[in-house]
């Protein structure tokens, strides 16, 4: 009874990927991939996703710590708000970012007036902001869960040994949640790499400046479908590598100790 929908479900997930492999312009692949536009988009994607991931660590780890370890008023509301970008359609997120940060936006008008930063949404920085916006919740939720589960007793032991608050965090808490940091980072990077809706809405699609791989694929789809397929193949390869990394032992090593 359950067999038929199970097979259909699996087919739905697998068949499109097979189709991508079957119809990929294998012969023209070297030409398309060495083409300047494709390479530029790939480089931009990787750069932006990496910078976004770094930003996510910088902002997300402290945020996760506040959510997991403090008893500030309104914390449950904050936690709910942090998860919103996770379920929000990215296009809506991009529009919201625009309304907040563009030259005429709620915050952007002051960025323009005080710092002259009004143009940044349509620059590469805009891509980074859009990707960070959608990826940050992945890191925060992963790390928050780990911080909650991390052994507070070990932190107490560190305190009795003379460790300061910062010392306990950097020398005990962070190493204990390292596997989750890695997992959160990989999720973050993958999400940022594939980001489309928020980026195209907030940062536009300027080749070499804001046109990342997903945008380039969408663009090529209308003018040069075989090129779109080839670029898609590259992203699929990246996804497979990320999946393998997530499955790998290094994500779990130490978490059972």
């Amino acid at each position: 009874m359950l067999g038929v929908p199970a097979v259909l479900g699996a087919a739905l997930l697998v068949v499109p990927l097979i189709a991508l492999l079957v119809r990929a312009p294998w012969r023209g692949l070297p030409r398309i991939l060495s083409d300047n536009e494709g390479l530029t988009a790939l480089r931009l994607s990787v750069e932006c996703a990496t910078i976004s991931t770094a930003l996510c660590f910088l902002l997300g780890v402290p945020l996760a710590w506040v959510l997991a370890r403090t008893q500030l008023p309104g914390l449950s509301l904050l936690r709910a708000l942090v998860t919103v970008p996770l379920v929000l359609p990215p296009v809506v997120g991009g529009l919201a970012l625009l309304l907040a940060l563009s030259r005429f936006g709620v915050v952007g008008q002051y960025l323009q007036r005080w710092f002259g930063l009004g143009r940044f949404p349509f620059d590469t920085a805009g891509v980074v902001v859009a990707e960070t916006f959608v990826a940050l919740p992945f890191l925060v939720l992963t790390v928050e869960g780990a911080l909650r589960a991390a052994d507070a007793e070990l932190e107490e032991a560190a305190i009795t040994l003379g460790a300061s608050r910062l010392g306990v965090f950097t020398r005990v808490t962070l190493p204990l949640v390292a596997p989750s940091l890695a997992a959160g980072g990989v999720l973050c990077w993958a999400r940022a790499l594939g980001e489309f809706g928020a980026t195209i809405t907030f940062a536009g699609s300027y080749p070499g400046i804001t046109q990342t791989m997903p945008l380039a694929i969408y663009n090529a789809f209308e003018s040069d479908p075989p090129a779109a397929t080839a670029l898609s193949l590259v992203l699929l390869a990246v996804a497979v590598v990320v999946l393998a990394a997530l499955r790998g032992r290094w994500l779990y090593a130490g978490s059972t100790a």
């Binding site: 052994d151 007793e153 070990l154 107490e156 032991a157 560190a158 305190i159 009795t160 040994l161 003379g162 460790a163 300061s164 010392g167 020398r171 005990v172 190493p175 204990l176 390292a178 130490g254 100790a257």
Partner: protein, 364 residues
Amino acid sequence: MTALSVDGAVQRSEFRLDLALSVDPGEIVAVLGPNGAGKTTLLRAIAGLSPLSAGSITITGEPVDDVPNRVFIAPEQRRVGVVFQNYRLFPHLSVRDNVAFGLRSRGVARASARADADRWLHRLDIDELADRRPRQLSGGQAQRVALARALAGAPKLLLLDEPLAALDARTRDAIRAELSRHLSEFTGGTVLVTHDPLDAMTMADRIVVVENGTITQHGTPAEVARRPATHYVARLVGLNLYHGQADGAGVVHLDDGGTFVGAGADTSAAGLVPAGRVLVAVRPSSITVHSARPEQASPRNVWPVTVDGLESVADRVRVHAAGAPPALVDVTAGAVAELGLAQGARVWLSAKATDVEIYPDVAR
């Protein structure tokens, strides 16, 4: 100067720990009590992990928690070495780095902290464990590493929370002797929390019994073992304990029924126990079982009982006897057969006056 002086209370919703305690330099004080008596709460208050709600704690003359004067020294500044129950070793660090952790926290350079850690590992005879991770250690090894880690910071005070409870019985005996040796080399004060009377008796200079958040008895191990003040302690040290009223003429009328004549150390010049509330302690092996009322006059304490149950204790049989008073009696397996001891058997017990310890009941 005392190494530690506590006179305060910790209030936790329904539970209140309220006691006064002092420890001299080089002295090992065991805090003995049942689970939930507040022993760990006491250690946490001394270490600074749970603040006092009233009173004060002084470590080597310095107030570290003084509620009336609003003094609270943070735990990381107290220089108190703690060996936690289950040890709490850092799983991501090697044994060497676990032991070096305290020195690193206080700003000692990595190389010299590690060198110092190695000296401690050598002192505790576990040099070969230096590069292992905590999950690769046996219980006994982890216990030694935890001790090395606590001692490596040259603490003013050493606190041990059930240091042997996580070990299996055989390892426990070996480690107990070794731990006792290391503790006696420590020049600061030591507070050892345990629920195991053997730990307290073998390692401590002084025992403080804590029940329901208050001290019910304190004294040397010998005093506590010979003259238990509560039924909890009596059960731990394996004695029959009775509450009673001494009449001043040498006879104690027990609350449970029956009378005892004994030879207490606190007797008056006439050799009699002074009138007042007293405790009577009788060793189960000092009581003799008779099938009929013994005729000879020498044991002055003779009473009839009914056998309520029998249990094997090592090479002896422990008889649970119901009567006035009830008693636990240790006999040989031969005596069980000879006297036909079985549930419901009616027999007589006797105890020599010299084997009956009578002493004032200070708790009342």
